[in-house]
């Protein structure tokens, strides 16, 4: 079976682990548990007649002390950059990570996720900033690990991009 490594990256607390739990196990917990190191999950999806095993690397979030280890992305076919729509600074963290990935791996398919879309009243990312990044080639998807909105569709959209 075809296997594709996909990394989830972003600042700490944006919901990377929750997105994987929602996608792989269809569960969600409100309790925030930080990730240290790496957690790997596997999910098999059907793309047309073909089955593809997605190897999901949930990598500990970046903070002011520890940067994401770019060597962990080695062999990744694509990645999901996750930001928290209620914390604008996490979108800037995502842009920083993305620029380092380009240096390390070159142009690899990715989608940018604006997570916590269920917290619409606390939404804090400006449309102008999103437009600027879209103009730079980014593709945004709004997701909510809490409600499940946009989660499965986004993972499978990236899987389809990788299978081409």
């Amino acid at each position: 079976m075809l296997q594709r490594k996909i990394c989830l990256l972003g600042a700490f607390g944006v919901g990377k682990t929750s997105l994987v739990r929602r996608y792989v196990d269809t569960i969600f917990s409100d309790a925030y548990l930080t990730t240290v190191g790496v957690k790997i999950d596997k999910k098999v999806v059907s793309l047309g007649a073909e089955q593809v095993a997605l190897i999901l690397w949930d990598i500990a979030g970046e903070d002011e002390v520890a940067a994401v280890r770019m060597s962990y992305l080695r062999g990744a076919a694509g990645y999901l950059l996750v930001a928290d729509g209620t914390r604008p600074e996490t979108l800037e963290a995502a842009t920083s990570i993305q620029s380092r990935i380009v240096v390390e791996l070159g142009r690899v398919p990715f989608l940018a996720l604006l997570n916590k879309a269920d917290l619409a009243q606390d939404w804090a990312i400006s449309a102008a900033r999103l437009q600027a990044l879209e103009d730079a080639g980014w593709t945004f998807r709004r997701t909510s690990a809490k409600t499940g909105a946009g989660v499965e569709a986004t993972f499978e959209e990236l899987a389809a991009l990788l299978a081409r």
Binding site: Q3, K5, G13, Y32, G37, V38, I40, A53, I55, D63
Partner: protein, 404 residues
């Protein structure tokens, strides 16, 4: 390398192997699993099959082989069993050794510390955002407050200007009221609007040397509109400006007035009118009424209790129906007698408890004997204010007294 005797090196290796639950995999250059051993169960990696593709059996290897650098370490990888391992990759000629060393205890400790640090950071970020929102809201409120203050000042300026205009208008309304008479009979009045401009007006004048007209108008409502209409109606009567009308005939006057002041052409305002004509030589009073309270005639000397006679006449308010007609009545008017013409604001007085003054209280007041030096108009006004419980009455207080 440590320069240790073999027995110490072996003890150290045994210690690491026991405490770190070491497991190992060997993958050749075709990415086939060649060898697997150690504590594989500890990591949930039992059942591996040598001679088959390594990446299919151990997903973490996907994309990492062949090695780009050696040695290569992945720290704190959560394994299928839930244990956490440091995963070491070491190239050995064309093959790659993968060594797993348990670091679950260190991982858990690091996670506890990191969890607290992140919780604190998230809280401080949230606090900073809230402070920013509060500051923004505060600025917005300050701006709104400033605008409100400016609007209030503008409103106050407009209010003061309008107040001044209203005072000017009130002065005008008062200025055109006729002065009290003393000859050939006494005629006095009290006019106290409930607001600066009321809906009451009145007048009297000699139509000819024998006929004296007396009238009171009460327009529904108060304020500028009511005052304008009231003054206009009074002026129409004063100047006898109704075509083909004999002002000595009260019924004819009110019918013509009703034609001239239909509410459809006067902003839906209508009014009540009492209009009487005193024929001096005949000692006769003719009168008609358009929805107005009846006048009261009190016969007899002032210092004796009198008997009040109601001077009512049928007829609707002026302005409501163009087809209205007004019945004319008459009565003798000989000395000594006092005729009171008034608006409803003189007797429809509410008490502080909400109850209404009785009309009989009003008639009692004007039929009561009047002492020397006393004025029954002031007595009545004082009584109305006392009943109401304040200087400012709810409705216009207008009363005329003609004393023969």
């Amino acid at each position: 390398m440590l320069d240790l005797p073999a027995r110490i090196s072996n003890s150290l290796f045994a210690l690491v192997q026991t405490q770190r639950a070491v497991a190992h995999l060997l993958v050749d250059d075709t990415q086939t699993l060649v060898q697997a051993g150690g504590h594989l169960d500890h990591y949930g990696l039992s059942g591996l099959r040598c001679g088959e593709p390594a990446c299919d059996q151990v997903p973490l290897l996907e994309g990492l082989l062949p090695l780009a650098e050696t040695p290569f370490l992945i720290r704190s990888m959560e394994m299928p069993s839930g244990r956490v391992a440091d995963v070491h990759f070491i190239a050995d000629e064309s093959a790659v050794w993968i060594l797993l060393l348990d670091v679950t205890a260190e991982h858990d400790e690091a996670r506890r510390v990191q969890q607290k640090a992140y919780d604190m950071t998230l809280l401080s970020q949230r606090e900073a955002r809230l402070i920013e929102q509060l500051e923004s809201a505060n600025q917005e409120l300050t701006r709104a407050h400033r605008e409100l203050a400016e609007s209030r000042e503008a409103l106050l300026r407009t209010h003061h200007r309008l107040q001044q205009e209203l005072r000017d208008a009130e002065r005008y309304v008062r200025a055109i009221l006729p002065a009290p008479l003393t000859q050939p009979f006494a005629l006095d009045w009290r006019f106290v609007p409930s607001t600066e401009l009321g809906g009451d007006s009145f007048g009297y004048h000699w139509i000819d040397p024998e006929h004296f007209a007396l009238y009171l108008i009460d327009v529904c409502g108060h304020g500028v509109g009511a005052a304008l209409l009231s003054v206009a109606v009074a002026d129409t009567l004063r100047s006898e400006a109704l075509p083909r009308t004999d002002f000595r005939k009260p019924g004819e006057v009110l019918a013509a007035l009703n034609q001239a002041y239909q509410m459809a052409r006067h902003d839906e305002l209508f009014c009540t009118v009492w209009y009487g004509v005193y024929h001096r030589d005949a000692g006769l009073l003719r009168y008609a009424c358009a929805g107005h309270p009846p006048a009261i005639l009190v016969s007899g000397p002032r210092d004796c209790a009198g008997q009040g006679r109601s001077l009512a006449a049928a007829g609707p308010c002026v302005g409501i129906s163009a087809a209205a007609s007004y019945r004319e009545e008459q009565c003798s008017l000989g000395s000594p007698a006092r005729l009171f013409v008034f608006s409803d604001g003189t007797f429809e007085i509410s008490r502080p408890d909400g109850s209404q003054m009785a009309f009989s209280d009003f008639t009692d007041m004007i039929t009561r004997p009047v002492e020397e030096g006393e004025c029954e108009l002031d007595r009545l006004l004082d009584y109305a204010r006392q009943v109401h419980g304040g200087e400012t009455l709810e409705d216009d207080f207008t009363i005329l007294r003609m004393a023969l």
